[in-house]
């Protein structure tokens, strides 16, 4: 961290001070006396002046955009959430209601529905969305001339605006026998399926779409990590007579372990905050079967205008995710140590 400011060649500030002190010494002509130490009354002003002269002010100017933007639009809203969750507020008046918002949230019959739906989404997204990028990343890493084009194709869905992708898939999920997916299934003699109109199929349909839209991200991260795996290990393993599967299991996967653990946690945190896909695709239906926690927060705040209640649920979700991350990191640390 201190590569530039502190080491051997004295920084400009120090040299300036030294020069100033030297200049003063020569004018006063008595080295080692009060010349280097300004009087008590001038000390505060001198400090500021010295700070400015040492570049403190211009440094602060460079920090200003970051500080202002983060303070107003990140740090302050995060801190404000805590008191806000105990207030009842509209745009005009605010009332402190202690834990009323929390009891209101916890007694809402829709909360268990939303929590169950969101958990179901997370589990499904994990089952489908976790192994696919890993396998694809390893497989694409084996390609030679077609590696770049395969990587481009895999990342293509990630580039699309989620809303456009969701609306496109909504068309695919047309429940009539002439829908895109139902036509495909019809060739195999299956269907037609009701997709988004069915209570049981709606959530898996959304997971399928969300996975399609996001699997490229993890695939590219795995691919980039695999490309940096030390290849000498493969040579060594091969000399020892280990086959292709053994090399994947004993060399590739262990080197990916750190990345796998992080991506898994990020996926968990991300999927628990799922909103756009169910909001655009089903609006929470049929009969709240795809209502997620974030959609419930959205409804509290921006449909009913209960900002305090919405924030209380946000805080609960954030605490839940915090506990989840903590436990996850604890468990996986033990696992990777053993």
């Amino acid at each position: 961290m201190t590569r530039i400011t502190s080491p051997a060649p004295p920084p400009r500030a120090v040299r300036r001070q030294a020069a100033d002190a030297a200049a003063r010494r020569t004018t006063i002509g008595s080295p080692g006396t009060s010349g280097a130490h300004p009087g008590a009354g001038r000390r505060a002003g001198g400090k500021v002046r010295r700070w400015v002269r040492a570049g403190g002010l211009s440094t602060l100017v460079f920090f200003l955009p970051t500080l202002v933007v983060f303070a107003l639009f990140s740090w302050w809203p995060i801190l404000r959430s805590l008191p806000l969750s105990m207030e009842q507020t509209n745009f005009i008046s605010t009332q402190w209601v202690w834990f009323d918002n929390f009891t209101k949230v916890l007694s809402d019959p829709l909360l268990p529905t939303a929590v169950l739906n969101t958990t179901w989404f997370t589990v499904l997204a994990l089952v489908i969305g976790f192994p696919v990028p890993l396998i694809l990343g390893i497989a694409i890493g084996e390609l030679r001339r077609s590696r770049q084009i395969a990587a481009v194709f895999v990342y293509l869905p990630v580039i699309l605006p989620p809303v456009a992708a969701v609306l496109l898939w909504q068309t695919f999920y047309d429940p009539s026998s002439h829908g895109v997916f139902n036509t495909l299934l019809g060739w195999l003699g299956i269907g037609p399926l009701p997709w988004l109109n069915s209570a049981g199929l709606a959530m898996p349909s959304i997971v399928l779409q969300a996975t399609w839209a996001s699997f490229g991200t993890a695939t590219i991260v795995y691919l980039a990590t695999i490309m940096s795996v030390q290849t000498e290990l493969y040579d060594a393993a091969e000399v020892d007579g280990s086959g292709i599967w053994n090399r994947i299991w004993h060399i590739t996967l262990p080197q990916l372990r750190g990345v796998i653990l992080v991506l898994l946690l990020l996926q968990l945190i991300g999927t628990f905050q799922i909103f756009t896909e169910p909001y655009v695709m089903t609006g929470g239906g049929p009969e709240n079967h795809t209502l997620t926690i974030l959609m419930l927060i959205f409804r509290y705040a921006f449909v009913s205008g209960n900002y305090g209640t919405a924030t209380a649920l946000s805080v609960l979700l954030a605490i839940g995710l915090g506990i989840l991350s903590f436990v996850y990191l604890r468990v996986t640390r033990r696992w990777s140590n053993s």
């Binding site: 200003l64 390609l143 030679r144 496109l168 590219i220 991260v221 292709i244």
Partner: protein
């Protein structure tokens, strides 16, 4: 100096380029069993990836140049009555597309330019100037990476409202700049520049502004490009926040206003609108694929 410039570039180029070997070795490829398997596997992989990832977009193009009846009767019929380009012109006339594109340009452009200002100045302060409080700022910025965004959704909305920004474009721009990831990216790049050049410039009498504008910025063109691309794409993709910050549909960017079109026009025209809305990011991606993929690959390492 020239070595300093080349060094990061070489490392970055190597990211996806074919290395000497991978899991499967040249020796494996010589044996007939694995060779056939590898050949079949490669073909299968490429076909599946193409169908799954490009297929839906190809279908979207087909649908946006067919008639609604053709799409509904048989979604896989290939232009039985020729290409219907008129879908685009009809859709364009119907929804005042130009306005939404201007809105989009305005939100994306503003977010990107501000993101560059925040990330470069912040990265410069954190990596090069390094005052005493730099560490505290760095920690506070990084901490936001680990706090789930949901916690501040409502309070951010109220804060923006208190500031009188609700319904204005800055309400979309500023929250998008609180990207710890961008700052981290730039900070890392600046920290990788050799300290001697800054020292030399300082001895030559250049102040922090001079060093920033005539030394750091020209040297950091690659990372600036990456931050600009990531911000532009991220801002084009964003849905929930612009939906809240710009309640007036006439001011919303294209990706926010899209769902409202789905019931107001024939299917074929709607597909044409969707196609146009994905065309811009796809074109950007095709042009800058190497930089975008490299940044996407590194993001795991940074987050890790």
């Amino acid at each position: 100096m020239s070595r300093a410039l080349e060094q990061p570039r070489i490392r970055r180029r190597a990211a996806f380029e074919p290395g000497e070997r991978s899991i499967v070795s040249p020796l494996d490829k010589k044996r007939s069993g694995p060779r056939i398997l590898i050949w079949v596997g490669t073909i299968l992989l490429l076909v599946v990836v193409t169908l799954v990832c490009v297929g839906p977009l190809a279908w979207l193009f087909k649908a946006s140049t067919s008639t609604s009846n053709e799409i509904l009767a048989n979604p896989f019929s290939l232009w039985p009555t020729g290409l219907h380009w008129e879908n685009f012109t009809q859709a364009w006339a119907k929804v005042n597309f130009g306005r939404y594109f201007l809105n989009t340009l305005w939100t994306v452009g503003g977010s990107t330019i501000l993101a560059l200002i925040v990330a470069t100045t912040g990265g410069y302060g954190l990596a090069v100037l390094k005052p005493k409080y730099a560490k505290a700022v760095f920690v506070a910025v990084l901490a936001t990476l680990f706090i789930p965004g949901v916690i501040s959704l409502v309070s951010l909305y109220l804060t923006v409202n208190d500031l009188g920004l609700l319904g204005t474009y800055p309400a979309v721009w500023f929250p998008a700049e609180t990207s710890a990831f961008n700052i981290l990216l730039v900070q890392r790049f600046f920290a990788s520049l050799p300290a001697e050049i800054f020292e030399a410039a300082r001895i030559d009498g250049a102040g922090p502004f001079r060093i920033f504008f005539s030394l750091v910025l020209p040297l950091s063109r690659p990372v600036i490009g990456v931050v600009a691309l990531l911000s532009a794409i991220g801002s084009y993709k964003d849905f929930l926040w612009p939906l809240l910050a710009l309640p007036d549909p006439a001011a919303q960017p294209i990706s926010v206003v899209l769902p409202s079109f789905s019931h107001s026009m024939p299917l074929a025209q709607f597909m044409a609108v969707l196609f146009v809305s994905v065309l811009v990011p796809v074109a950007l991606f095709m042009v800058f694929q190497r930089d975008i993929l490299r940044a996407a690959g590194n993001s795991g390492a940074v987050k890790g």
